[in-house]
């Protein structure tokens, strides 16, 4: 079933966030792999923020992603 607009917005927000702060590569990595990678990056982010580590975009995870913050990546060499 297609994603609702709200869910699509959440996914887009998460992609942007994970690319910026958790070094998620831009673009698809091949069918199936992109989603796995995103779950892995969500887990990294949840672990950092001491959220429950599910790998899923639950409400608490999205809420943290929406908060005002510093632009320096959390787990990456700044380059």
């Amino acid at each position: 079933k297609p994603l609702s607009t709200e869910e699509t917005n959440k996914v887009l927000l998460a992609e942007k966030y994970l690319r910026r702060f958790y070094r998620m590569p831009v673009g698809l990595q091949g069918e199936g792999k992109a989603s796995d990678l995103m779950h892995q990056k969500i887990r990294e982010m949840q672990e950092f923020f001491r959220l429950e580590v599910t790998g899923n975009l639950d409400d608490n995870t999205v809420k943290v992603m929406e908060m005002a913050r510093c632009g320096v990546p959390d787990v990456a060499e700044y380059n």
């Binding site: 950092f48 001491r50 005002a68 913050r69 510093c70």
Partner: protein, 368 residues
């Protein structure tokens, strides 16, 4: 720290302010930035010298969207600022998003305190990466707090790069965030808030939502910048859909997460005598409409309907609640049962039978 523990080779670090935000008087910007650097120089041997021309180690500027480093800002909210770790060229440079509304105080929605953001960014400019301790200055999410902003985690981090400041007296760092599974954990206050349970401890609160497995820990100031860092007691009046928060001799009313206009008020407006300077715990008994206010070894009963203190009070806690001792730190009420917290113990109390029915660790409510 950033990979390879990047740091300045000299303890004399220069900075230059290239431009100013339109939101603040330049003098206020100078003061905020200078104070933000001082936060770090107080605990290290670092000395900061301002340059007015030429290239400084830390070049400070305000810019919006793409502002010259191919690392664009995003308009109001979201990204507030960024800084580069020590190094040549861009290294140490600190950029603030001019699309934000910068302030020199804590007030207002979508306004950000320049001093706090700058102190965080200068942490990066000196070699500190993000911390996952929500009480530390180097936590990546913005929150406003009063007092000296560095936590133990921040100080240990910067001192492992540069060493201690031999000339300054010790600064009292902010303690690390309380651990919910610490067996000695006690609570400051507990209240319901529209079906959620809010537990206050030090500068933080935990939020337990019945439909969420995980328990959030947040700084009080992140959600309610106007409420003090220390909450003594809290209770929900579900009839009026408000939560009352007590801190010292003042109280605040929340409707949802918003502070009700006209607050804070003095707790003595409730009818408490002036000698009462602090309420230890408060709980509303839904079945009777009475709110119990625990103060030292006594408690009062407040009639919510009549908005008056019941006569015959204060009464002795020890006599009226046998089995729980003589003091209460926090209290909650569910379906005829009172949960009374003192130190690390939770007493489940049958209010009608006036009897303790079980004793648990206080943090069992936090799934520990």
């Amino acid at each position: 720290h950033f990979p390879r523990d990047l740091k300045w080779e000299s303890t004399n670090v220069t900075f230059r302010i290239l431009n100013y935000t339109a939101d603040l008087n330049p003098k206020d910007v100078d003061r905020a930035l200078r104070n933000a650097l001082s936060v770090w120089s107080k605990v290290t041997p670092l000395k900061f010298q301002r340059l007015y021309t030429g290239n400084a180690d830390i070049m400070i500027s305000f810019g919006s969207k793409e502002h010259g480093d191919h690392n664009p800002f995003d308009g109001p909210g979201g990204l507030l600022a960024h800084a580069y770790p020590p190094g040549k060229g861009l290294g140490g440079d600190t950029h603030f998003d001019e699309d934000e509304n910068w302030t020199k105080d804590s007030h207002g929605n979508k306004k950000f305190n320049l001093f706090f953001v700058a102190a965080h960014e200068f942490g990066h400019a000196l070699g500190m990466a993000h911390s996952s301790d929500p009480g530390s200055l180097m936590y990546p999410v913005y929150s406003y707090a009063q007092g000296f902003p560095l936590s133990v985690d921040d100080i240990e981090g910067i001192q492992s790069l540069y060493g201690k400041n031999p000339d300054h007296e010790k600064f009292k760092p902010k303690p690390v965030a309380p651990d919910k599974c610490d067996p000695e954990l006690s609570f400051d206050a507990i209240t319901e808030l529209r079906g959620e349970t809010i537990i206050f401890k030090d500068r933080f609160y935990w939020r337990i939502h019945p439909n969420m497995i995980e328990i959030e820990q947040t700084l009080i100031k992140s959600t309610w910048p106007d409420i003090p860092n220390k909450v003594d007691a809290a209770y929900e009046n579900p009839e009026k859909d408000i939560v009352i928060i007590f801190s010292g001799i003042r109280m605040w009313a929340l409707n949802g997460y918003n502070i009700v206009d006209g607050f804070p008020k003095y707790i003595h407006k409730l009818g408490l005598p002036k000698r009462v300077r602090k309420i230890d715990a408060a709980v509303n008994i839904r079945d009777t409409g009475k709110t119990l206010l625990f103060v030292d070894e006594e408690y009062w009963s407040y009639d919510e309907q009549m908005a008056t203190m019941d006569s015959g009070y204060p009464r002795s806690i020890e006599e009226d609640f046998p089995g729980i001792g003589d003091e209460v730190d926090a209290a909650a009420y569910h379906y005829g049962y009172l949960s009374l917290y003192h130190k690390h113990t939770q007493f489940e109390y049958n209010y009608d039978a006036r009897k303790v029915i079980s004793i648990l660790r206080a943090n069992s409510i936090l799934n520990c």
